[in-house]
Amino acid sequence: MRVIIAGCGRAGSLLAAQLAGEGHDVRIVDRAARARGLLPAGFPGRFHQGSGFSRTVLEAAGIEHADAFVALTSGDNANIVGARTAKETYRVPIVLAHVDAARSADLCRELGIPAIASVRWTVREIHRRLLHRHLTPELAFGNGETLLIRSRLPGYLTGRRLAELDVDGEIRVVEVTRAGRSLVPAHHTPAEPGDLVTFAVAATSLGRLRGFLDKELGT
């Protein structure tokens, strides 16, 4: 696919090199001509000097026929303006923006621009690893607001209905692996010894989930 990347910094140049290596048609844009130096020798894609929301530059980079646009400059606002232009003016099918500040992520959500919010993501990840290091997510959704976690059920829960572990808006049991077979538990399914349970959990409720799972250790 044809991908236009705005911003040839550490992330932009790495993504560009990776995609180009996979055979994609990569066009990378940066305000500074010397940013080109971050690209690997023999980079097969094209480099365009200029702003990531300049019509002239974007059109020279072929935005009218691009499949994706990624805004990866060091400025949140430049990324927001570039991504919105790609999405609304040029109707690029896939648009992604990287932003640092949480407020920029909020603005992206308002504008319908999928954003990778690095500060928010980093803080959540570090917080989780500091305080909930035993709960390793199988999957993280969005910027880590919702996680999928698998855990062996502690013995004290044997015989209780799995649905009792649900906390409205915070924790939900989505799957149980029992004796090597997976099932989606019904409302009345009781927990059995050795159950491996998958929970969908809000990142803010990890403490609560750990409370359930660790209870046995504390008593």
């Binding site: 702003s51 929301f53 300049s54 019509r55 002239t56 400025g75 949140d76 606002n77 430049a78 927001i80 303006v81 232009t85 609304e88 500040a101 407020r103 920029s104 603005l107 308002e110």
Partner: protein, 218 residues
């Protein structure tokens, strides 16, 4: 009226001065704390250090009750985001934004919350410089929606006001000399300031016509 200006560069401080002189309640926000500190006490406006792209800063600056916001930073993307926030989050009735790079002019419209685009080529000071050729009074910029006219007049050796102090000049009702540009630099005019040929004045008035201003100075 409450006016909020984002960016305390040359254009931002000039607009702040003009609007304050026309008795508006002006807040000037700039992300550079040193610049804000340097302006303290030199402008009759409320100064605030902070990033105007942050809705919390805009709210603190009074965006909820502002009648006008002018985004004057040196980065077009920042001016666009400030304008968008002003319009979408705070419903500021009038939003003006400076276009730094002419190529970006097409972006400065309602999609980004901009009511008036201010091209870089025509900020206040450039207009004054352009107008220097004409010795006559030139109606520079009409902030008509604010109910205020800004009129520029240049002092020549033949002007009646040359050699007089500002206090000696009888101005029409509701008229203020906002700034005197001397040797290319805007200054805050004190009543004792003596006008010299070559001075350029920005006069702000609610009521006076160009002819009346002309009569007072020329």
């Amino acid at each position: 009226m409450k006016a909020l200006i984002a960016g305390a560069g040359r254009l931002g401080t000039q607009i702040a001065q003009v609007l304050a002189a026309a008795r508006n309640e002006v807040t000037l926000v700039d992300v550079d704390e040193d610049r804000v500190a340097a302006l303290a006490g030199r402008l009759p406006v409320r100064l605030l250090a902070g990033d105007a792209c942050d809705p919390a800063v805009l709210e603190h600056a009074g965006a909820l009750t502002a009648g006008l916001l002018v985004a004057t930073t040196g980065d077009d993307e920042d001016n666009l985001v400030v304008s968008l926030l002003a319009k979408r989050r705070f419903a500021v009735p009038r939003v003006a934004a400076r276009v730094n790079d002419e190529e970006n002019t097409w972006l400065f419209d309602h999609r980004w919350g901009v009511d008036t685009a201010v091209p870089a080529a025509t900020p206040l000071i450039s207009l004054i410089e352009e107008a220097t050729g004409a010795t006559d009074t030139v109606a520079l910029l009409r902030l008509s929606k604010a109910g205020v006219d800004v009129i520029e007049t240049a002092i020549t050796p033949r002007s009646r006001a040359a050699g007089r102090t500002l206090a000696e000049i009888a101005l029409p009702e509701g008229t203020v000399v906002a700034t005197v540009v001397r040797e290319g630099r805007p200054t805050v005019p004190a009543p004792g300031m003596r006008l010299r040929p070559g001075d350029e004045l920005l006069v702000v008035s609610h009521t006076a016509t160009e002819g009346e201003i002309h009569a007072a100075f020329q």
